[in-house]
């Protein structure tokens, strides 16, 4: 996302620019509703939380300023890092599958090979319209032993019903829910980017005898690399904030999904079960730091590949 490119200067004649001096305040008026909300609901809470994270409330002695103690504690907190490890394993498993499928679908549906592509495009996208809570409910029933269709089929075939919500099965099971929900959405973003490539670019390659696979690898994928990077970064951010699916599935797998299964679940439980708001704020900022580092790494990786 080369934002710098979009900063065009407005070119207007000099006489006109002078006439507009009285209107200098206009852009600020247009911006006021957004900036007011931005200050109140984003900037202020951020500062408030940052300040909060520097204090600690004790049962005896009340609240006291502890400097960076909460952050030192966070960096040494096994519960937090276990959660980070879980979401990283989840991401390493889920993001390549999801984006790989999304890219494959986008390439197939953008080509001339497939007719009636609207059915596939809409069908693949439809799970995005389902709230993640409902997606987790549906798949929770699918994985379950009581009336899940997978267990039903296994029983009918005289097989042992597979267990999904075990310590080793839980992360792939949640990864599947996320893949089901978001593959179609990412496909459409990549599809839209592919549609933006002018037809002539392929024609020349085709005349030179390039195969569809070569055209996809050498022309189409490199051109939409910025769009791929965008989907990758948003997937990384979403992954680190994993909350809805595991939180809903906790009902059916309470022992596997503990109170710090993901960093976000940990923050939630610290704040609302333990009322440790100050420490939970420190954990949230540490998570933001991890997010920033990881998304920069993704950006670097993508653009280094593009440059080479």
């Amino acid at each position: 996302m080369s934002v710098a490119k979009t900063f065009n200067t407005v070119k207007t004649p000099l006489w006109f620019r002078r006439a507009r001096i009285g209107q200098k305040i206009t852009p600020y008026l247009f911006l006021t509703p957004f900036l007011a909300g931005f200050l109140v609901f984003m900037v202020y809470p951020l500062i408030y939380a940052l300040n909060l994270s520097l204090y600690r409330k004790k049962l005896v002695g009340g609240t006291s300023f502890v400097g960076l103690d909460n952050y030192v504690k966070a960096f040494q907190d096994d519960n937090f890092w276990a959660g980070v490890r879980n979401v990283l394993v989840f991401g390493a498993m889920q993001i390549p599958v999801m984006l790989g499928l999304a890219l494959l679908f986008a390439l197939l549906l953008d080509g001339k090979l497939i007719r009636r592509q609207t059915i596939f495009r809409l069908g693949y996208f439809l799970p995005f319209a389902v709230p993640s809570v409902v997606a987790a409910l549906i798949w929770g029933y699918f994985y379950g032993q009581s009336f899940g269709p997978i267990a039903q089929i296994a029983v009918a075939l005289h097989l042992k019903p597979p267990l999904f919500l075990t310590p080793s099965g839980i992360i792939p099971s949640i990864a599947n829910i996320a893949t089901w929900q978001y593959t179609g959405y990412n496909m459409l973003i990549l599809f839209a980017a592919l549609k933006g490539i002018p037809e002539e670019l392929y024609e020349a390659a085709r005349v030179d005898g390039a195969s569809d696979l070569q055209i996809a690898l050498k022309i189409r994928i490199p051109i939409i690399l910025p769009a791929i990077a965008l989907t990758a970064i948003f997937s990384v951010i979403g992954t680190l904030q994993l909350f809805n699916e595991p939180n809903v599935l906790r009902v059916v797998a309470p022992t596997v999904l503990d109170s710090h299964f993901t960093p976000n679940i940990y923050v939630y439980n610290l704040a609302f079960a333990n009322r440790q708001f100050d420490y939970s704020a420190a954990i949230a900022f540490t998570l933001a730091l991890v997010t920033a580092v990881l998304s920069s790494l993704v950006l670097l990786a993508v653009y280094r590949r593009e440059a080479s």
Partner: protein, 296 residues
């Protein structure tokens, strides 16, 4: 279905692709099954009684057709709590969609059409905020909201969702592409005021981008779970997502509440339908609009 689509294969020139094409179609249809079967299962399950859920095969109907009874139970259980949740969800989604898209359109338009002091710095800050995890805002928002006594009110969810930095980013890009500078200058020479120009000329040009931002804000707010779960203390102000998860946890924890499963399933269908219908009807707009964020 596969054979039907194959009848479209024309013999001339495409013959060498036929095997590959067949394999591609098989692959695409298998994937279509993966994405749609869970939704089919949910729809069928919503027609079953609690006994039917446990006694019948998931992808076929049970002997008793219980949809009418399920709907009746759904809309009356716990003093019609579900109707209240649907109403709350609609209020959250409509206010977030209309409010945030309008606010984003105004801001994006300002960033794209005017030169002013602090523009680049401001836009950089807005863009950076897109990448900050929502968790960071969640706890302080909860504390601030409960301090102001808003925690039991609809405003606790509505107000924070009115601010959408990503919406501003999208509207700016869209405005840069869609609004020719000369047009606005011509209007200025004709003596039109800046706000009139926005309302009568620019906004019409911004409409396709606006609808995209509006729709995705609507869906985001309709499907929101984390923020409402955090900031809402009372079940009367729950949206459908939080309400259904709550009923499901009751059904899972207490065997006496298993009777809730048909309600959670039917409620999931009812709670999802509006968004699906909206997506299908507004296809033309959002499919084009999606290209926005990805081009730059």
């Amino acid at each position: 279905m596969v054979t039907q689509t194959l009848s479209h294969v024309r013999p001339n020139g495409l013959r060498k692709y036929t095997t590959g094409k067949f394999a591609t179609y098989v692959f695409l249809f298998v994937c279509l099954g993966y994405f749609l079967l869970p939704l089919l299962w949910l729809s069928i399950a919503s027609t079953k009684t609690n006994a039917g859920l446990f006694n019948s095969f998931g992808f076929w109907f049970a002997k008793d057709f219980g949809l009418a009874q399920n709907l009746k139970d759904l809309f009356t259980y716990q003093d019609a709590a579900f109707i209240g949740w649907m109403k709350n969800t609609a209020i959250y989604a409509i206010s977030a969609a209309v409010g945030s898209s309008l606010i984003s359109a105004l801001a994006g338009y300002a960033f794209s059409q005017y030169q002013f002091a602090g523009r680049n710095v401001l836009f950089g800050i807005v863009l950076a905020s897109v990448f900050v995890p929502g968790t960071v805002f969640a706890v302080p928002l909860y504390l601030l909201i409960s301090k102001t006594g808003l925690s039991g009110s609809l405003l606790a969810v509505i107000l924070p969702t009115l601010v959408s930095p990503f919406g501003v980013y999208l509207m700016r890009i869209y405005a840069e592409q869609a609004i020719p500078e000369e047009l606005l200058d011509a209007a200025r020479i004709d003596g039109a005021g800046e706000f009139r120009i926005f309302a009568t000329i620019a906004f019409r040009l911004l409409l396709p981008g606006y609808v995209t931002v509006l729709l995705f804000a609507f869906v985001g707010a309709w499907n929101n779970y984390f923020l409402p779960l955090l900031v809402l203390g009372k079940s009367e102000v729950y949206p459908v997502t939080v309400g259904l998860a709550y009923w499901n946890s009751l059904a899972g924890q207490l065997s006496t509440h298993q009777i809730l499963y048909p309600l959670v399933i039917t409620g999931s269908v009812i709670g999802t339908l509006p968004v699906m219908i909206l997506f299908l009807f507004l296809q033309r707009f959002w499919q084009n609009g999606l290209a926005l964020g990805s081009i730059k």
